[in-house]
Symmetry: C2
Subunit: 102 residues, 2 copies
Amino acid sequence: MLTSVEPDVFRVLGDPLRWKIVTLLARETLCTTHLVEETGARQTNLSNHMKVLREAGLVETEPCGRFTYYRLRPEVLAGLSGQFAALAETARTAAGKKRACP
Amino acid sequence: MLTSVEPDVFRVLGDPLRWKIVTLLARETLCTTHLVEETGARQTNLSNHMKVLREAGLVETEPCGRFTYYRLRPEVLAGLSGQFAALAETARTAAGKKRACP
DNA sequence: CGCTGGTATCAGCCGAGGGTGATGTGACAA
DNA sequence: TTGTCACATCACCCTCGGCTGATACCAGCG
């Protein structure tokens, strides 16, 4: 039952700041300091969001001395793409099919 | 600038009940009464969620006498699929690219 | 017309979660 | 070791949004 966890991923991506972080990480791997200057958010706030992204499986951490690099996981994005494609296909084939009013 | 509205769509899909509604509507067009018996939610609650889904452009209404049928818009799902695919591709090509620590 | 059933709207409650300051931890440099 | 920097954790406030009961609206039917 893969679909049960999807609303959580969407809820995670539904925050504007987190979505911005994801788009930034899609272009290059960054550490918290870079994200602070890119987004303008506080370090504490970013740390909280990174924890959420990490627990959602969207991001991997890569310690580098005192720094912590965050790397996006393309597989998850590709999986979501496939889920949406399948759902769109289901909706297309079911076009016009409606249940009778009781 | 398409990407600016995306977090809103994700926030809409991030609610478990709304996601269930979307998956149900992907299979067949339904009216509120059907959704009430499928989800077990109250009519008022469902009406609120349908308004959110409609305003997000995910769903179209189709009045049929006293009933209101809701139809999923596959184009939106397909668009999201494409966005995720592009983002995954960007992340893949940028793999290993990391900004230097300041 | 009045009644009934399907939906939408309104006002309000309340818990989840985003934002913040203070503080803890761990790694490098002098 | 001591100081500093990067990051995580904690406690707290406060807003947003999901859920609800009451109620208004609208289409069909007698």
